[in-house]
Symmetry: C2
Subunit: 346 residues, 2 copies
């Protein structure tokens, strides 16, 4: 076996030592290593041999200092748990990896202060670009971003700014589509389980549901609305409350899978037959849809795609003179599975 690349470096060798061994100047070595400028074939071979032999690798720090480019991308996410964001990170990471960039991760835990801290940190670390996934995009965020001399791409939120590009899910639209699909199956009395009041995404989804109902002159009955916190348990509890009211409904739409699963369990515990008595749909498509005995219906949208597109967009912006505005909405697909009663089968 020949030399094992970088692992063989006992002590760091630098460019001038290579140059000395080859009897040339450091500029020539640099040219050979970076394949830039002209070098006579014989010289190139000689230098390459020495690079091979010594296992020389340029000091990345010095290089970055000289080039003013770190090939580092910073990504700020509000959470590292849950199913979505890790997938988004994965997507980002894939694209960066394919393009020779590295990913620096920071987690804000939803704290505005931490977001700021991480923006500053990334700025100091001289990252080449930032991907910012937040639960709520505020005017202050826009201010910071506009001051930054590097491109930023926002994930998950519409920035409402012509200067700040983003990639997001069209919450309202897919909630509307999913609801329409449900209504087309003949449902009329829809119960809705939403997320926390202050959640932008949750509000968007609700308004999508309402819009779909509105188009056929229906509306959400106040008595059939629950408000929870995305968790399975909360779905169960909110469903319980609605059932207790005794008002009739033929379908339940939940803002996410967790609450939908909770609702499903609750309905079954009350003896409802799913989907014949009640259809259930979550505006989501996580692993939970597969966990229940009846496969849960939902809306599929890919976080991996979100991440990939975001990273693509960022890389496009990097190196560009002007930061150009782009917005991308990730496509979605309504998935009717065993928890929704189909007309044709009805």
């Amino acid at each position: 076996m020949a030399h094992c690349g970088v692992f063989n470096l006992q002590k760091d060798i630098n460019i001038s030592e290579v140059a000395k061994k080859a009897g040339v100047s450091i500029a020539t070595v640099s040219r050979v290593f970076n394949n830039s400028g002209r070098v006579k074939e014989s010289t190139r071979k000689k230098i390459q041999a020495i690079i091979e032999e010594t296992g020389y690798r340029p000091n990345v720090l010095a290089r970055e200092l000289a080039e003013k480019k770190t090939h580092l991308i910073g990504m700020i996410v509000h959470s590292l748990t849950g199913e979505g964001l890790p997938r988004a990170i994965n997507g980002v990471n894939q694209v960066l990896d394919e393009n020779g960039y590295n990913l620096l991760i920071a987690c804000s835990e939803g704290s505005f202060e931490k977001e700021k801290k991480h923006f500053e940190l990334f700025r100091l670390k001289r990252v080449d670009g930032i991907i910012f996934a937040t639960r709520q995009f505020k005017p202050e965020h826009a201010e910071w971003i506009k001051k930054l001399p590097i491109p930023v791409v926002v994930l998950l939120q519409d920035t409402q700014e012509q200067e700040i590009p983003f990639v997001a899910f069209d919450n309202k639209r897919f909630a509307k589509e999913a609801t329409k699909t449900l209504l087309e199956q003949g449902h009329q009395a829809v119960a809705y389980l939403g997320g926390p009041e202050n959640s932008v995404n949750s509000a968007e989804r609700k308004s999508g549901v309402e819009e779909a109902l509105g188009e056929i002159k229906l509306q959400l009955d106040r008595e059939l609305i629950g408000q929870g916190n995305y968790l399975i348990e909360s779905g169960y509890n909110e469903m319980e409350k609605i059932i207790q009211k005794g008002k009739r409904f033929d379908s339940v739409i939940a803002v996410n899978d967790g609450m939908a699963i909770g609702a499903l369990n609750c309905l079954q515990d009350h003896g409802f037959n799913i989907p014949n008595d009640v259809s259930v749909l979550g505006l989501d498509d996580t692993v939970l849809t597969q966990a229940s005995r009846l496969k849960l219906s939902g809306v599929h949208y890919s976080y991996t795609d979100l991440g990939r597109q975001g990273a693509d967009m960022l890389l496009r912006q990097i190196g560009q003179e002007e930061i150009s505005f782009e917005k991308i909405m990730i496509p979605f697909e309504v998935k009717l599975r065993e928890t929704v009663k189909h007309k044709e089968k009805g």
Copy 2:
């Protein structure tokens, strides 16, 4: 509002400009900024005022070059999806953040080649340390790591090397404990659903189950063993196969939650009463345990903890002369929930 820190930097200001403005040398500015060496109070104030005014921040790259320290930790994981590793990343990230380090993420997708590539990359990027989470720790890994001039901590696997510290779950032990707990409830005919044949962790868990059975002179019946791939569907299918064989069993242990949930669904579809006819337990404790109508029993162990302890350990090693060997096993807890029949209730 005063100056908004780093965001205000229109153009980068460097230390010599600050020095010039203050009428001192760059060494003094450096001393003030880093709070090192002695500086007269009046000089310090003057310089601080100018730093404040100009928003000067040292160029991190130059600093790192001079200090030979990047405050960067590289983490290699085999997957970014799933519930465990993102939590581990989260734990690592928390500790690093608390200690002024940054996290560089790389995903190997289980490929040996990619692992190598990322080790090399991290080496070149001059990270201060590496956290390596792998599915299988091979002799080659040990070779690389021993050649590296920076500390490495391995996650999830016993390195079997006195020189390479690790943090892991004691798969065999918790599988054994969980099984013993189950047996103590009076079960005797245990069916086992395992993971892929080549999985180290899966094998460890199986041997833990066998050991527990062995202690009371029982053993796994070959007819009651399934081999799947961790997914819900695979749990369902493997359970189905076993049921078809018609052999009696009073409990099912699955290598993970996914397969346990699949098995649970399958059993219920066949009309078994859980837990009266059959108890079900997964050697895991993910969100899936909450998803089914009957809360799934399992073993809880914290990936966040794993990550935190790993990062702690790494930071301890950094800066130390000799790399010292440490091994940590994360504690676990058996969780009996609704899918296991309890003796006292029996």
